[in-house]
């Protein structure tokens, strides 16, 4: 039984401009201990997929349907509040992009980590505090006691992100969802946090879902990649294969648009046009209006996801 089993997930939100279709038929399975990167741009549905998997979206107003949506065998669509509380933290936990808004500004870091531990276990206050110190130590914070007594505004973004990772690990989750955990950080701090997440994943034998728009982050951290666009999966495969031999035109365009790949001041290969409007997505393949190799079929019918190699799938009419 896979740890994460998502089949044909649809998520939409009623808005003024109509029904915003954030995820449109997403499937993803993750085995225990695996690391998977979900890559996509703003509005591709990558974050919403994770939020839906953990049932962190209020529902209604959001509309979530799926043929299957389970974490560690628990059906997340029908789970009771009690089951959800158990799954969140013990099976899966999440680290968000902006640690400043993820922490409550009026309580100390220590208070918030201890509160999390005590909500999920029957540890005493002093035992939970000891655990919190050990967790901060684990995320390589050199002065855990002073951090425990600090308020969020007193810490740097990198330090806060470490504290949030510590909190996410407090109940030994089987899988960590990291939603753009380094996007708000400087390059050097980003490198440190990514190294930390990778090390922790190996130490704890934990699964990892790294959600990012940055292919460099993916190249650094995960074994398998899922490329999303317009609420759908465009391509999926082992990370090395995706980088060496991208098959979907969107994956190729995305790789080509990375700045600084070759020496010298030069124009980049940009992807012309804009991301699709999720309230009014184009018919057919969501990428077809920007695709340089689109076929007539691409504008009318969405291509099915097909096997294109060992462990590799893609959804593109050009690959049939």
């Amino acid at each position: 039984m896979p740890l994460v089993d998502i089949q044909n997930l649809h998520v939409s939100f009623p808005q003024h401009e109509g029904l915003v279709q954030a995820v449109r038929g997403m499937s993803l399975t993750i085995e225990a201990g695996e690391s998977v990167g979900i890559v996509g741009e703003s509005g591709s549905g990558k974050s919403v997929t994770c939020m839906a998997a953990l049932r962190l979206l209020r529902h209604p107003p959001s509309r979530i349907t799926a043929d299957r949506l389970s974490l560690d065998g628990v059906d997340m669509l029908t789970a009771s509040r009690r089951d959800l509380a158990r799954v969140r933290g013990k099976v899966a936990s999440m680290v968000f992009q902006d640690p400043m808004s993820a922490f409550d500004p009026v309580f100390t870091i220590g208070h918030q980590i201890v509160e999390t531990i005590r909500a999920h276990t029957d540890a005493s206050l002093s035992a939970a505090t000891d655990q919190a110190v050990a967790l901060l130590d684990r995320v390589r914070i050199k002065t855990p006691l002073s951090i425990l007594n600090s308020y969020p505004h007193q810490l740097s973004g990198g330090m806060l992100q470490r504290a949030m990772i510590a909190m996410a690990l407090s109940c030994r989750p089987k899988i960590l969802f990291a939603d753009e955990p380094t996007t708000a950080l400087d390059v050097t701090i980003q490198a440190q946090i990514l190294a930390l997440i990778k090390d922790l994943q190996a130490e704890l034998g934990m699964g990892l879902v790294m959600v990012t728009h940055d292919l460099g982050v993916v190249a650094e951290t995960v074994d398998r990649v899922v490329v999303m666009y317009g609420g759908r999966v465009m391509e999926e495969g082992p990370v090395q294969a995706i980088f060496d031999d991208p098959q979907h035109p969107y994956t190729r365009a995305l790789l080509n648009s990375i700045p600084g790949r070759t020496p010298g001041k030069q124009r980049l290969t940009e992807i012309a046009g804009q991301s699709p409007n999720p309230a009014n997505p184009p018919a057919g393949c969501p990428f077809h209006p920007r695709c340089t190799v689109a076929l007539p079929d691409c504008a009318t019918t969405a291509p099915a996801t097909r096997q294109i190699g060992p462990g590799r799938t893609a959804a593109c009419w050009g690959l049939t």
């Binding site: 980088f243 995305l254 600084g260 001041k265």
Partner: protein, 309 residues
């Protein structure tokens, strides 16, 4: 030789921060920028690189006279603008414009895009109202937004589109110098590439010189001619962009370069991270350098902070 279009001479900025211990505990001096000298030759792009807190944005704000330097001088086209009054400064403002990272807070939400982009013309009294609007629409068109966008408001746009508007507003006066403070940091990869290309095209077309402030060395590599690296308020290394990538000498520059995410999973490697103290202790020791750390030329155009050793 003509004067560089922008020159910073020994620019410093000291902030006085309250000392811990209450209202009457006095203050401590925080040296955000120390003795920074830079020249921006005409029609080039200079990257100013460093982390949060390195002083790069403070340098950008002082360059624009949006913040007063504690000491040092700012020269635009050879003219010293450091001490000019706002009225005296106004003609120079036409020569220098800025684009910020957060395009959302940089654009007035109550104004249409046409008015936003035309506002500099209005302020400087250039042309009649209809001409101003017409120029603004043409400029929007030039940065890749159809003229029909003129009637829209900032909230209707994506981040990339708002940054295009900010660039249009900055360039409508045809300035000689553009300070761009992390204009691509908040953008998605494909949008980032679009904005980089737009800046490169506009630089060529308009003969623009750009001070490009960024912590993203990948973007800097594709966009700039030269790089100056800032650390703790000082410039610790400056060279032609490719020299920085192939022959960085300062430990801070080397650390920044090694922190760039790899471009292929096969290049993954363990990294060592230097603390600020280790960087300070690792300042290169070079024969011929002075007794205190200062910029020292290691090859033509390549300067690195060094001490005698």
């Amino acid at each position: 030789m003509t004067a560089p279009v922008l020159e910073l001479r020994n620019l410093s900025k000291t902030f006085q921060l309250p000392r811990k211990g209450g209202w009457f505990a006095g203050h401590i001096d925080h040296h955000a920028v120390r003795d920074v000298s830079l020249t921006l030759p005409r029609n080039t792009i200079l990257g100013l690189v460093g982390e949060s807190g390195s002083g790069k944005s403070t340098t950008g704000l002082m360059t624009m006279r949006l913040m007063e330097p504690t000491s040092g001088r700012i020269l635009i086209d050879g003219a010293d603008i450091t001490a000019l009054t706002p009225a005296e400064l106004k003609p120079y403002r036409r020569q220098m414009q800025i684009v910020f990272q957060d395009s959302y807070s940089a654009l007035d939400p109550m104004m249409t895009l046409a008015r936003i982009v035309a506002e500099p013309l209005h302020i400087h009294g250039i042309g009649r109202a209809e001409e101003q609007t017409e120029q603004a629409l043409a400029m929007l068109d030039r940065v890749g937004l159809h003229r029909s966008y003129g009637q829209r408001y900032p909230h209707e746009l994506s981040g990339g589109q708002r940054q295009r508007v900010a660039i249009a507003r900055a360039l409508i006066l045809r300035p000689q110098v553009l300070v761009a403070d992390e204009p691509t940091s908040a953008l998605d990869v494909s949008v980032k590439a679009q904005i980089i290309n737009l800046l490169l095209d506009l630089q060529q077309e308009m003969g623009l010189s750009i001070l490009f402030i960024s912590h993203d060395l990948s973007v800097v590599r594709s966009l700039t001619d030269r790089v100056a690296v800032m650390f703790n308020g000082r410039i610790v290394e400056t060279a032609a962009t490719e020299t920085i990538f192939s022959d960085a000498r300062h430990p801070y520059t080397q650390g920044l370069l090694s922190a760039i995410p790899v471009l292929n999973p096969s290049d993954r490697r363990p990294r060592r991270f230097l603390t600020a103290d280790e960087i300070e202790r690792g300042i290169p020791r070079l024969p011929g350098a002075g007794p205190t750390p200062a910029l020292h030329q290691v090859s033509p155009g390549h300067l690195v902070e060094a001490v005698a050793g």
